[in-house]
């Protein structure tokens, strides 16, 4: 069997269909949680565990990621009475979720443990602000940082702006095209009761908002929020015993990087991002190609990041990302909606995990929108995507998550409805 683009899908490889996400959970998204990251992490892992129909004794592995702004796994496990056979807390932000799913599969396969909870707990607004203001901008600028922070080149938007600007120069991408990412995600958020910013916005709202760092306006940038998110990874056969339809993992690309990851701008074209390399792992291992995907979760730390990744993973031709995101494709009701929860631009900021959670719910057919709940406790999705309505994609079978760390590093994952 070959797919449309000639990818050989005849023999499952790299554990395709062997592992699944069996449970997902989160805290509420807030600006000012009033709780510690330990409390938030515990709350989210507990919710994911319950979603998977598991008891503390069922979970024996734990992974977390942070920028030293979280609480480490032994404390979360301790709070929940979980005895661990494996844990690891790694450094990292965006692009970590997908990479850690790959690690979870590997350690289970190697016999280190059986069920892994992965979480990200953060007070990204009230404690360590992701934008870098407050405490984060105070420490001395040391060593290699003299080549960046000494130039006022520190916050994510500042660090990425050269990629974004060069993409506009190389391909004629316009501010109005890019703004459509925010417009689309805000429409999705308006159907998400969890979203911090559920108000629908227009292209004009985006391009008339104040500049943060050109080419980014305020509304091109994601939100800072306090929250925790968690997922449970286990073998597919174990996941089939859980209450919900498993999201079967088809392939993972983990923190794939451009050359010169110490300063990736040395190696051009700088308007190309890590997805250019990651796609050659993601699609062959999954045995599908972009045309097969029903829903995408392309990381939207900024409007531009979602666009650049969709382009470099091959959802459109190189340079046509502006047209792709502004032509209706990424809207609910369009051919391939992106970030149906509203993503980091509108729902809340979780360093990527919430977009994986959203796609798991899409594959289950159980997005938590405003549709009525039937007597069996399940939502009766209307597929009416107007404001305050539905956000379930009809017959979602395959999803792709495209995680972003920096222009030079990204991760990705394809999941299939089990």
């Amino acid at each position: 069997m070959t797919t449309g683009s000639g990818i050989d899908a005849s023999s499952p490889k790299h554990l395709r269909d062997k592992y699944a996400i069996a449970g997902v959970g989160e805290t509420t998204y807030t600006r000012g949680s009033g709780r510690s990251t330990r409390a938030l992490g515990t709350w989210a892992v507990r919710n994911a565990m319950r979603d998977a129909g598991m008891q503390p004794g069922d979970i024996d592995g734990m992974l977390s990621y942070s920028g030293n702004d979280s609480t480490f796994a032994p404390f979360i496990a301790g709070d929940l009475g979980i005895r661990l056979n494996f844990y690891m807390d790694v450094h990292g932000g965006g692009s970590s979720t997908e990479a850690l799913v790959g690690i979870a599969m590997g350690v289970i396969e190697a016999g280190l443990c059986e069920v892994v909870a992965i979480y990200r707990a953060m007070n990204g607004y009230s404690e360590v602000r992701i934008g870098g203001t407050g405490a984060r901008s105070a420490p001395p600028v040391a060593g290699d940082q003299l080549h960046s922070r000494a130039y006022g080149w520190q916050a994510a938007g500042q660090m990425f702006s050269h990629t974004f600007m060069r993409h506009m120069y190389d391909y004629g991408t316009t501010p109005e095209q890019v703004a459509m990412v925010k417009v689309a995600h805000s429409q999705h958020a308006s159907n998400n009761p969890k979203a911090l910013y559920p108000k629908r916005v227009t292209v004009e709202d985006v391009v008339s908002s104040r500049f943060i760092v050109k080419p980014l306006h305020l509304l091109d940038c994601c939100v800072e929020s306090d929250n925790a998110t968690a997922i449970i990874v286990t073998r597919a056969e174990r996941a089939r015993d859980c209450p919900h339809t498993p999201a079967l993992i088809q392939s993972v690309a983990g923190r794939v990087s451009k050359p010169r990851s110490d300063m990736h701008y040395q190696h051009g074209p700088i308007s190309t991002v890590a997805g250019y390399y990651a796609k050659d792992i993601l699609w062959p291992n999954a045995g599908v190609d972009p045309e097969d995907i029903d829903v995408t979760g392309s990381y939207d730390a900024f409007t531009f990041t979602a666009l650049l990744q969709l382009e470099d993973y091959g959802f459109c031709k190189k340079g046509e990302g502006g047209e792709y995101v502004s032509g209706g494709t990424i809207l609910l009701g369009g051919k391939r909606p992106n970030n149906t929860s509203g993503g980091h631009l509108c729902e809340g900021y979780t360093h990527g995990m919430s977009m994986v959670i959203e796609n798991v719910r899409q594959l289950r057919g159980e997005t938590d929108d405003f549709c009525p709940i039937g007597p069996d406790g399940k939502r009766r999705h209307t597929y009416d995507y107007s404001e305050g309505g539905c956000r379930q994609v009809k017959d979602a079978e395959l999803t792709a998550n495209l995680g972003w760390a920096i222009p030079g590093t990204g991760s990705a994952m394809v999941m299939r409805k089990g």
Partner: protein, 173 residues
């Protein structure tokens, strides 16, 4: 010797074990831009590294490099997050392709040296100067003197060079 100083009220430090960065900034303090050249393949590299990114050779020598080039891309900060820069918005962060070794060793590679747009004396550029610069602008290096053993390499418009008719700037001013 370690560097411990302040720039725009922002503490800067390079510890004494970081010999590549100490050496790099010492040449900058002399207003004499140098980069490491690999002892084996002779390729220049930026920023300072321990090994050659192309051949892994650990030996290098510091060589003077003509610090002129073209703006490859830029960010123009209107909302500073670091206290040091709050009084200087809008400021520009330039990524400049040096003329030296441009397109080597492969087509899309270049020595892309970061720096702010500044006046000749290394002060952050005023808004009217910012508006003149975009992708394609020809620039030359100047230095911001910070302390003994430390000056920051910066970029200013090369008024003697032939400039593009209008450099590419973001469409909204």
């Amino acid at each position: 010797m370690a560097i411990n100083t302040e720039y725009l009220g922002m503490p800067l430090s390079v510890n004494d074990l970081d010999i590549e960065n100490i050496e790099y900034f010492r040449y900058c303090a002399e207003h004499n831009f140098h980069l490491q050249a690999c002892a084996k393949c002779n390729l220049l590299r930026y920023p300072p590294t321990t090994a050659c990114p192309w051949c892994t050779c650990l030996e290098s020598r510091w060589v003077p490099v003509e610090a002129k080039g073209t703006v490859h891309s830029y960010g123009e900060v209107h909302h500073a997050i670091q206290q040091a820069f709050k009084d200087h918005v809008p400021y520009m962060i330039l990524l400049v392709d040096l003329d030296t070794q441009n397109g080597e060793p492969s087509e899309h590679e270049a020595l892309r040296v970061a720096g702010n747009l500044t006046t000749l004396d290394g002060r952050l550029a005023p808004p009217e100067m910012v508006r003149r610069v975009g992708i394609g602008t020809r620039v030359r290096m100047v230095f911001t003197d910070v302390d003994e053993g430390l000056a920051l390499p910066q970029w200013t418009i090369d008024e003697e060079a032939e400039q593009p008719e209008s450099p590419w700037r973001y469409p909204q001013e």
